[in-house]
Amino acid sequence: MRTTKWFAAMTAASLVLTLTACGSGFSSGNSSASQTPGKPLTVLIGSSGDAETTAVKDAVAAWSAKSGVQATVRTASNLNQELAQGFASKTPPDVFYLGADSIAGYAANGSLLAYGDTLANKADFYDSLVANFTVGGKFYCAPKDFSTLQLVINTDLWTKAGLTDADVPTTWDQLSSVSKKLTSGTTTGLVMSGEYARFGVFMTQAGGNLMNDTSTQATANTDANVKALQYVKDNLVAGDFKTAADVGAGWGGEAFGKQLGAMTIEGNWITGALKSDFPNVKYKVVELPAGPAGKGTLQFTNCWGIATDSQNTEGAKNLVAALTATDQQIAFSKAFGVMPSIKSAADAWKTANPALVPFINGAAYAKGVPTAAGSAAVVTDLNQKLAQLKGQDPATILAATQTNLQALVK
């Protein structure tokens, strides 16, 4: 019996050892990858559709032809998962899309190359975007593009309610009163998703946000945030605001298109959705009203991440510089409607999209969502309660979020 067991154990042990020897990365430490100039690059993107894929492929091909470095673009069906697999196997894509909420995790484990400060056009990026991609004082990656939230108004319902251009709300009180006027039958004045990524605009208008601009300090339970959520709650209770789920819609844009809401708070992606699903709905975009602390909105952004383990980081940096150049960003915005992340492309974008100017104007006062490692989970938890805000106490909700956020930055 004993010999058999020994034999089995030895076989298992030798098996494990053999396998360990096979794995290339098992013994290596965290040293950065050896560099091979001119080595082909892989670009991994999470594409919104064919238009975006084609535009990125064309841009990368053009850069390849000019630089002589081969580069292939791959679209990920699940970007986060494919990135994680790449980092774990030490063969990550060289250049990739990266959301602001996942940057801290990858920065912490050293997967992400901090190259932002070496960019020639660093000063051209919007400051708030640079803050979004700065972790521990290091500017990690070049913002790809961005979007902000503004108020979208159904012009037919607006006129029907007897409202004119002069009635466009510029304060919270005015927003409440036009919402009341627009509420009738199955239509509610303002319908938006019941989550931080929408209600948060009121926090910024009151002078607050869940964390400070660099996501190093939790500021969830401030009076400004309580005041903002209380304002939203009062209007939800009055029935002049509703969440998309309350009216049976998946998001604000759907409720707006189905005329269940006369106004909504969304980003510039709503124009594409309305064009394809609800082409008959007439609308206009205006800036959100100012709160007690002035104008405010939230912004969402992605960056061009470069892997530390890339074997051609110089080539990757050159590629990113080409992809974030003014002309290229204008080309991208023409192809799939995104807003350029650099100030020098703003005028061209405004000329091309006159009806959407409020979105890009928002860049001046927009705040980012928290980017501290683990903050996405805290926001998900907060959203769970915000979906039921009508029956909850804003101060209690925010106190719990404060505790959760503090645990991330301690």
């Binding site: 098996l15 030490k90 995790g105 049976g248 490692a373």
Partner: protein, 359 residues
């Protein structure tokens, strides 16, 4: 639903052991012939399990190999995070609660339903038996992702289910977006003792609230897809029963209900154990429907430990916690398969008599 493979090894007495040269050569040949399987099992089972076990007690952050020099041993810290309080704990509590209700409701219903279906299609008198057998088994053959997408359409606000409900004059819920717990019956808070007491960051009120409306839609799908498979297992068992026993029961004057309760069902004990065990394992591992349909929403009410493990690892780079959840889930599954084993154990007549005497 993914169901694990269960190998049932019959209990055999150990063969007599031999020692000597010839037998030794046999042993070598035996190892040679089993080597391919050992290698495959080692490569795809033992090594990943050992790696995951190591990750669950390490601070591996997802970059490079978990066995590289920079990765440190942190003991039970990742497991502690699951019970120590904070967001990880409450997420784990919510996931456990959701999955517990899922198991408690899906397993009995799918077992009963599959037995019923098997009894129906086993009857000699029924017309078109072949058709019904195929029809009931069909959902099991279809990919779970395809069925999930079908379910999303059926249970949308303006979908077929709500149209049907509207036909009867009621208003259907917004199924996959409705986080309300069904046993709360619309109430938003309960008695004081239920609100105050808590375990794993969740009040008793929340623990006892039952599944959300969204989870109910997913549960109905699980029952729909798996009962066909289990029907097949029951059907095979039913066709194995010897007709003499039923004839004897008939001669003794047993009604068809009594024959089912006292003759059929006891003979299906082993099959029921298989079905319940497979059902439990499948239910605790529920992942693909969640991944396709809800990603844990609305309001985390369809979050399960399997999905939480995935999202902690791939979404938040908390690989240690993700692996720890996987091992806790493994332990839960082991415990839950022991329960039907104990409930459905063979009771010898003497033991039964002894119990009666005590009572």
């Amino acid at each position: 639903m993914s169901t694990g493979t269960v190998t049932v090894t019959p209990e055999v007495s150990a063969p007599p052991r031999h020692h000597g040269g010839i037998r030794r050569r046999d042993a070598a040949a035996g190892w040679l012939f089993t080597a391919p399987v050992l290698v495959i099992l080692g490569l795809f089972l033992a090594v990943p399990v050992v790696m995951a076990l190591w990750v669950s007690v390490s601070d591996w952050s997802g970059r490079g190999s978990p066995f590289s020099s920079g990765v440190g041993f942190v003991g039970g810290a990742n497991y502690q995070a699951l019970v120590a309080g904070g967001l990880t704990t409450s997420d784990f509590g919510i996931a456990l609660k959701n999955n517990l209700w899922y198991v408690l409701l899906v397993v009995p219903i799918q077992t009963a339903l599959s037995l019923l279906l098997a009894l129906l299609v086993n009857r000699q008198t029924i017309k078109g038996r072949g058709f019904f057998r195929t029809a009931f088994y069909f959902p099991s053959v279809t990919s779970s992702v395809a069925i999930t997408v079908l379910w999303l359409f059926l249970f949308s606000t303006t979908g077929a289910i709500n149209k049907l409900i509207a036909f009867f004059g009621a208003k259907g819920p917004n199924w996959f977006n409705e986080p309300a717990a069904v046993f709360h019956f619309g109430a938003t808070s309960g008695p004081d003792w239920m609100m105050k007491g808590s375990a794993l960051g969740m009040s008793w009120w929340d623990w006892l609230g039952g599944p959300s409306v969204a989870m109910c839609a997913l549960m109905s799908m699980a029952i729909f897809t798996t009962s066909g498979t289990f029907m097949l297992i029951y059907l095979a068992a039913l066709q194995n029963l010897s007709p003499e026993v039923f004839e004897a029961a008939e001669v003794d004057g047993a009604s068809s209900w009594k024959a089912f309760w006292y003759v059929t069902l006891p003979q299906l004990r082993a099959t029921t154990f298989t079905v319940v065990t497979l059902g439990m394992i499948g239910c605790w591992q529920v992942f693909d429907q969640i991944y396709t349909a809800t990603q844990g929403g609305p309001a985390k009410t369809t979050l399960t430990p399997a999905y939480l493990s995935y999202s902690a690892s791939f979404g938040q780079q908390k690989w240690g916690v993700g692996a720890a959840i996987a091992f806790v889930l493994f332990a839960i599954i082991i415990v839950f398969t022991l329960v039907p084993r104990w409930l459905l154990r063979e009771r010898t007549p003497r033991a039964a008599r002894a119990r009666k005497a005590v009572a």
